[in-house]
Structure formats: structure tokens, C-alpha cells
Symmetry: D2
Subunit: 304 residues, 4 copies
């Protein structure tokens, strides 16, 4: 299939959606990203790389980093993780406190903020330096040793992150954080501040399209079964309370971030990333979702 031509066409076809969403503005570092940016990268299991637009420009991956931390936590403690975090869609916004209270401090899944805080807590317990370990893992996955945390993004999020602080304190009140609230939030904000490009992210996600094995090196990162499960979580929970909508329209496991990025995979075929900073009310990139819907419709490739 001529993915390059398809990506080119998609880039043209989503252009009229400019202005339909809004760049995240809760911290200055995100607010000042030019709203017109659009990039897309598709990497095949065979190493084929197709790109369009700003695919090499780095952006704040934000919640897409939750895939890296979850993968690491599963590698560390496997199924045990799911004693402290559930695996059901939440039906509530990503930062909701309600579900947490009704279910006594067990976050509904690892991709809502509360769940990712628990995952981060696991890493802090398991590893000498969880911040460094996650950065190293991301570098290893994408094969770029110079990707980095954006310290000013992390600092800004920390200063204004009262909702996350509320979630972390509430988890702590239910004994579902073992490290200090401060340490968990600090690591969490650093993970979210990771800066990567579409190309880098697509490469980093490729093992999820290949039953847990990095195609180039043959390194197994997760078992077949763990990979199936992580992809299932991405499909059912990767888009906050728009997970059903993404599955319905796009039909791929994926993860979005408020920086406007979305990474998704087609098992057995490829990984794809799209970046466009204008997001909708659910926190998902407007042009990004449309671009991926076009991709699965035009290629006829989706998991369904």
C-alpha cells in the first residue's frame, strides 16, 4: 500500500479543521505551541518510514508517556499491578475524583491520571531512579539518545497541578501510594514533560504492533499475552471518556496526550503517530483523530 500518498492526502484533507479545537492552555509552555502544526509518521514492521508535515518536530507527549510507564511497571511486577489499579473504562473525565471515591481508592484503569499515579508509584518503589529509568526506556524504544524531559513544562505542571495533587493525596489516604505524594507527583510531571517527535514516538510504539518484540533488534519487551493486554487497555481506555468514540471511528489501540499527540498501532503491520496541538473538550487532538479515522478508512486496515 502507498502509505506516503495516503498520509499526504490526509494532511491536505484535515487542514480545513484548523480552528475547530483549542491548544491546551493550562500552562504557558503548552499554550505557546503554534496551533497550526500538523505532523504524521507511520513506521512499518519492515522498517518502512512515511512522514508528512511536522513529523520531526518534538512536542510534549504528555499522557502518551503513560504507555511507557505502564510497560515498565508490567515488566517489573506483571499482573500484580492490577491489584492496585483496575482495567475497565472509566466513563468519566481523565481527572475525575468521583470514581476513585466510589471505588475506594482503586483507579479504574492505568490511563486515567489516578491510575498513572499508581503506576508511577510502583516504579518509584521498584527502581533506584524512576525518572531516569523512564527516560532511558523511551530513548531505548525510539533509538534516540537525545530525547529529554522539558524541565520548564514539568515545573509549570507542578505549580498548577492542584487536581493531580488532589488525586495523589486521595490515593495516599487509601494507602494506594507507597511513596510520598511529592515524590510521585514529581516523577509523574517529569514523565509527562517528555518531548518527542512523531517519528520517534512511532518507532517507540512499534513493539506493541509486533506482539511485544522490537522488530529491528528482535528484543522482547513484553510477552505475547502482556502485549495483547496492553493493547486491549489502549483500545478501551486510551482516550479518556472518548475511548468508545475513538474505537468506533478509528478502530485502533492508541493513546492521546493533551499536547495534541496520538500514537496508535495496527497489530502485525505498523505504528502511527499524529500531532496537531488543537484539542477538543475531551483533551484529544481534533485533526489527529480525524487523520487516524481517514487512515483506517482509506487503508481498510483496522483491528475490526
Amino acid at each position: 500500500m502507498d502509505y506516503s500518498a495516503i498520509l499526504e492526502a490526509i494532511a491536505r484533507d484535515v487542514a480545513p479543521l484548523a480552528g475547530a479545537g483549542k491548544v491546551a492552555s493550562y500552562i504557558p509552555e503548552l499554550a505557546r505551541v503554534p496551533s497550526g502544526r500538523f505532523g504524521m509518521a507511520l513506521v512499518g514492521l519492515d522498517g518502512q518510514l512515511c512522514t508528512v508535515g511536522d513529523a520531526q518536530e518534538r512536542f510534549s507527549v504528555q499522557s502518551i508517556s503513560k504507555v511507557f510507564t505502564l510497560t515498565l511497571a508490567i515488566r517489573q511486577i506483571g499482573e500484580q499491578l492490577f491489584e492496585r489499579v483496575g482495567r475497565e473504562p472509566s466513563g468519566n473525565p481523565f481527572n475525575s475524583l468521583v470514581q476513585l471515591e466510589y471505588e475506594q481508592g482503586i483507579p479504574r484503569n492505568p490511563f486515567i491520571n489516578a491510575g498513572a499515579l499508581v503506576v508511577t508509584d510502583v516504579l518509584l518503589t521498584q527502581m533506584a531512579d524512576a525518572k531516569a529509568a523512564v527516560l532511558d526506556f523511551a530513548r531505548h524504544l525510539c533509538g534516540c539518545s537525545d530525547i529529554a524531559y522539558d524541565a520548564s513544562v514539568a515545573a509549570s505542571e507542578r505549580q498548577t497541578g492542584y487536581t493531580n495533587a488532589a488525586l495523589a493525596n486521595y490515593l495516599k489516604s487509601h494507602d494506594n501510594l507507597h511513596n510520598s505524594v511529592e515524590a510521585v507527583l514529581d516523577a509523574y510531571y517529569h514523565h509527562c514533560s517528555l518531548s518527542m517527535s512523531c517519528v520517534e514516538l512511532a518507532k517507540a510504539f512499534l513493539f506493541l504492533a509486533n506482539h511485544g518484540v522490537t522488530p529491528a533488534s528482535g528484543e522482547r519487551l513484553l510477552t505475547v499475552s502482556q502485549t495483547k493486554r496492553l493493547n486491549a487497555l489502549l483500545l478501551t481506555c486510551g482516550f479518556y471518556d472518548e475511548a468508545g468514540e475513538f474505537a468506533f471511528r478509528v478502530g485502533l489501540p492508541g493513546k492521546s496526550g493533551v499536547g495534541g499527540g496520538i500514537a496508535a498501532i495496527m497489530p502485525g503491520r505498523w505504528a502511527v503517530t499524529v500531532w496537531s496541538p488543537e484539542i477538543n473538550g475531551y483533551g484529544n487532538s481534533v485533526r489527529g483523530m480525524k487523520a487516524l479515522e481517514m487512515l483506517t478508512t482509506r487503508t481498510g486496515e483496522s483491528i475490526f
Copy 2:
């Protein structure tokens, strides 16, 4: 792949789970089904049929019928349907009133009871005889002209169905039923009372594994896009508040019923049905879920 041998092995391996669930008991007709029954049928796109156990015995499909009514409603009014029913996982039990109230009478998705009542209402508006039309459609799908509603099951459900009556009245209070509460409930209970065997159900689901086309006849029932979307709904919403768990453990689009049946599909490959009447607290067959988990693990076939 030798599916026959795999099914035989699964049947043996799930046997020890007998007693781990409970036969649905809210109406006598379901309560008197022997708890030990277990059947499984897999039908390939190539027509290959593998069965084990009680695969030819008919049982009450219950909520699996929601797939037939939804398919018909999409054929009738397409995307318009989703103005009256959402497509997000509910995060609540199948018969919850809470979500309905918070979201002003718009059911979260077509597979919770409230959503299926709206779908039934659409059919009543669109068709001269919605009860007959659904039965005819199911017969057509499985190629068996003698499957039928079980009148005594329908009557029993009606007599004791106070929760469904509450849901229907609440939908009506929000103007989200256009026909009378009585007519909607009557048709709904008939749809649920449909009796089919594993073999018949697997055949009926096969078009969903084939991008909307019945393999044998070549008849297109849904467009490629509609099929993708229906499968996405099955994956994210087909198992009530255990949808995430089913996606996580099994990794196939599917639908369960409190009669103990589960139908699922592997796109491009096959449809499978399992029946075992003992259900867990979420209303899903205990041995059925385990059998399908074994199937995707042992075949290495899942959508992820």
C-alpha cells in the same frame, strides 16, 4: 490450525470451573437450565465448522439478541441512531439508572439495557412488525428457519421486569421512546427470549468477521465502516462493566447474555460461540469467558 483439537482441550480444561458461577435465577425458565451444560462452536469464513459439547442445544440468547436489533437499526437509519444513544462504555451495571439520569435520558451505548430499549423503539417506528422482523433476520443470518422466540421466557421476563420497566418509563419521560412503554417492553422481551444453539449463533455472527458480508451468499449486510463500528462497540461495551476485562483477557469483539452464551468474532478468520449457563456477578458466563481466553491464547489469534 487444528481448531477441533483446541476446542476439545478447552472443554476439558474449563470443566473444573463448574460451580464457580450461578445459573441466572430471576425467572424460572432460566433457573431450570442444567448448570453443567457446556458447548462451543467455531465457524470459519471458509465454512469450516468445529464443535464440542452441547453446541447444538438451543439456549436463551438474551442480550446477544441486542447485536441483531442493533444491526437492523443501523441498516434502517444509519448514523442517526447515535443521536439517541451514545457509544461510550458505561462503567456501570447493565441495568443502571444512574448514568441515564446524569446524561438526561441518552443511554451510554446500545448494549446496556436502556440503549437496547431505544434501539427496539427505533425498530418499532421503522417496521410494520418489529418482533417478526427481528426473528426473520436472525433466521436469515443463521440459515435456520425454525429458531423461535420462547413465549414463556418472554412472558416471565415481562412479569418480573420492573427494572426494565423503570428504564423504559425513564426514557419515555425524557422523550427518548417514541412508541408506548408497553410496546417497547413487549418487543424487547421477545427479542431476548430468542432460542438458538452455539452453531446457529456462530453462523449468525460470521458477517461481522467478514467486513459486513455473509461469506456463503456474498450478501452485504453492513458497510465495511458500519461493521468496523459495530465491532468496536462490541469490544468496548459488549460485556457490561466487564468489557475491559473481556478485552484484556480475551481480546475479541463479542457479546454475552445472562443465559450463559457468548458470541465473538476474529475479523478475517472466524466466529465463535460458547455456552455455559453459570454466570458471574457481572452476568457473564464463567466457563465461557475462560474458554475464550484459552482460545485466543492457544491460537495466538486476537485482534491485538
Copy 3:
């Protein structure tokens, strides 16, 4: 105290609020009541009667009838009633399904609709003819043998009462109705359709201001303790999710109805009724609430 002068002044002072609320419109019989009506009646324990405006005109008492049914139910089965209905404020609208689901079919208190349906169910079980008994009791309380149910109001409410039908079915699904849904709703709608004037209602409430004894006849209707408890329920739950507001601004036990009536009592002193059909978004009379706030402020009489 010169209550007559105070009532006259209040009637003048609330007049500018005309138009600030809306006449209940969900059934034609209520919608056609002239919005400008305003009446008020105060009856002292000594028999003194002061009135202003349309105090002799009958209106649909609606939920104020819940005080009569609750009094009768307490007379019939005493504290046992509270095994089937709670006594806490609900924090939710009068017709909410949410609380009912979270608390497994036990209505939060007897003054929300779900609670009043349970109270009606108790009367149906205890009495040969619950509709007649409630009417007789209301006639006895106010000393007017010609007050009556309004059959057309009852019929209209029944035809459009889908939310109440939802509540009743849900209660039945939790075994918290012992009679048929139809019988309970029929009696309930009749009770709500009772027509009485301000003067009649004030006389009917007087025993609640006198520790359970009708002053004129000396007849004891409730024990001192039962009366204290019923008044406590009125104060904490008598105004749906505006109970706190009414206690805060007015400071009297009372009960409102969507017909625009409010009846309240000052223990040891008097009963008062106000009627003005324009209601606010919570279902409480706008001028009625203001009039009673003025009454307690100007007389310096409130329970606090």
C-alpha cells in the same frame, strides 16, 4: 402580635416578584391556573384566623398531601415505616433515581417522590380503601367535608407520569412496594390531586404546631415524640433540594407542592399557608418562600 397587618404588608411586598417564577406546566390542569394568584392564611392555636388575598380559593395541594399520608402511615405502623424509607435529606431533586439506586431501593426520606410512593404502599396494605381514607383524614383535619380529589388532575398526572412510573417500578424491583405498581401510582396521583384552600390547609396543619393534638377538639393524632419527628422531617426534607435554603431563610418546618402552595408551622403558636402558583426551578413557590421569610423576620418568630 397583629398578624393581619403583617400579612397585608407581606402581600403588598411580594407583589413585585410576579413573573419571577413559572406556573407548573407539565399537565394542562396546573398550567391553566392564573399565575397572579396569591393567598395566605394564618391560624393560631387559639383559633384566631388571619387571611389575605386568595386564601379561600382552592388549589392543587400536590406534594403537601405527603404530610397527610405520612401522618396516617405513622399512625398505622409507627417506627416500622422507617425500615422501608430513610429520614435523611436527599441532596437530589425530588424525582431523582440516582439515590435510589445507590441505596438499593430505600428512598432517602418520605417526602421525595420515591419515599411517598412507599408511604402510599403502606397505606394500601393497611387500609381497605387508601384513597378514601386519605380524603377522609384531610376532611377531618380541616373540618371541611367537601374538599375532594380533582379527577382530571389525577388522570393527567397518570398519563404523563413516566418518571413516577420509573420510580415505582424501580422500588418494586427492590421489593419495596408490596402492592401493584398500578395501584400505588393510582392512589398516589389521587392524593396529589387534592384541592384545598390556604385556610383549609392551615387548619389541617395546626395539630403539628400543637404537639400532635388538634386544639379545637383536643383529639390527639400523633404522640408528642411522633410530632417532633414529623416536624424534623419537614424541616430537613420538606423542600426537596432546597430544604436547607428554606430552613436558612424561613426557619420553620413546612412542606411545599408544585401547585404553588406551602404550609408551615410555628410550634406552640400557629400554622400558616401561602399559595402563589409561580414556582422556581426546585418546584417551590417563589412568592410563597419570600412571604414566609418576611413572616418569620417581621414577627421574630421561628424555631431558631
Copy 4:
């Protein structure tokens, strides 16, 4: 009335309830209070003082301090306060996050923890030293210059107060705290750590039984209307989600604390305090509630 004899009898009659509740144990300082303590003090508007048991022993007043902070905040900014905090019963536990999320950061009333944090924030904004001001006010009210905060209680609460930290952060995320989370929590924990005896508390509450005027000095602390309103809030919201139960059984405006204290007033007559450290699942003293129920039943004095 011979209140002394009544108090003596009550002390005897509630003794068998020892063991029916549990001493609060979330911080060591509260857990080590002897569970058998019982004290009661009644102070009349005429200055009459009756006591029984451990009425002179100081205990941690905890949430009873919310009455002092609310009184001060009303004195400072009056009705404006209610733009930032509601006045309806919450229908949820004292430390619930759910209501706060559904109502966008406006606590339902000033007596749940979230509401008291907003009240504390108001004091921090209005006063140079809010901790000192509240202590001075409490000393002034009871006429004892040596009552004090218990620094070890305050420190312990701060160390373990993750739920309160969650609430404060969530309020801050909704811009409903104007001071820093740390400053608000520090002041709040100090207020809660106030140590007072039954006699001191009863004296401090007396102005609420006297329309806002301290009887001995004639000093007006609140207007008549403000006093009515504060008493209404106590009645509808003073006992968390047992407010209805307390109104129903006791029938007085009052406030409880997890230290086992309850202060209540009978307008125009007296203030009463009871202390017994064993609390029920709602955080209210078991013997305390029973003692006050006996008091209003035996004296025939309640607001209803």
C-alpha cells in the same frame, strides 16, 4: 425544671451503651482518650449551670470548632460567604469528594470539611492571624483565657490528613481557595485541635440560644437573622450524613466532632454539651446522641 436531676438520670441511663461505638483512632492523640469518659453540661440563659460526670475535662473539639470559624466568617463578610459555599445538606460523608466534583468546587455547606476549608480560607484573607483570631474568639465566648490548641493533635492531623489535602487541592483547582493549600490546612488543623471542656463549650454556644447576644455581657455577636440562619445550618448540616437522624431523634440545632463532643442549643432557653469519645460510623458520639435524645424527650423541650 430540675435539669440537674435529669442530667444525673441520663448519665446513668446511657452507661450501658459503653462499647457500642469506637474511639476515633486515625491519630494516636485521639486514640488514647479513655473510652469510658462521659460528661454533660447545661447552661441556661439565666446563668444556671448543671453538670454531670467529666464535664470539666477538656477534650479535642474537632469539628465543633467549625461553628466558631463560621461565626467569625459571617461577622467578617456576611452573606458574601455563601457565594463560595452552599447551605444545603450534603447527603454524603463529611469528607466526600464526589459532591465537590459534581458541583464544580462549591462545597454543599460550611460544615462538611470542604466547606470549613473555604471558611478558613476566608478568615486567612480577612485577618492578620487567623489561628490566633479563632483562639481568641473561642476564649472570649467561653470566658476562659487558658483554652488552647493542642499542637501535637494539629501536627498529627497534618501528617495523616491526605483526604483533607485532597479536598483543599481540589478546591484550589477550582479557584475556591485564595490562600495557599498549606496555609489553609495549617489553620484548619489548628482550629480542629482546640481543647475545651463541656462547661466551656456550653458557655461558648450560649449566644446561639439567645438570638446572637451573649446573655451575661449583652454583647451582640450576630444579628437575629444571622443567628437564625446559623442555627438552621446546624440543624440541617451539623451531623454530616446523620443530620436528619439527629433532627429526628433530638430536635435541636447542634454540632458534633469526632473527639466525641456534641454541642447543641435550645433557643430561648439553654445550651448543652455532651462528651463521650465512642463514636459511630458517621463520626457522631453514640452516648452523646442518646443523651441528647433523652434530654429533649424528658424535658419536652425541642425546637419542634
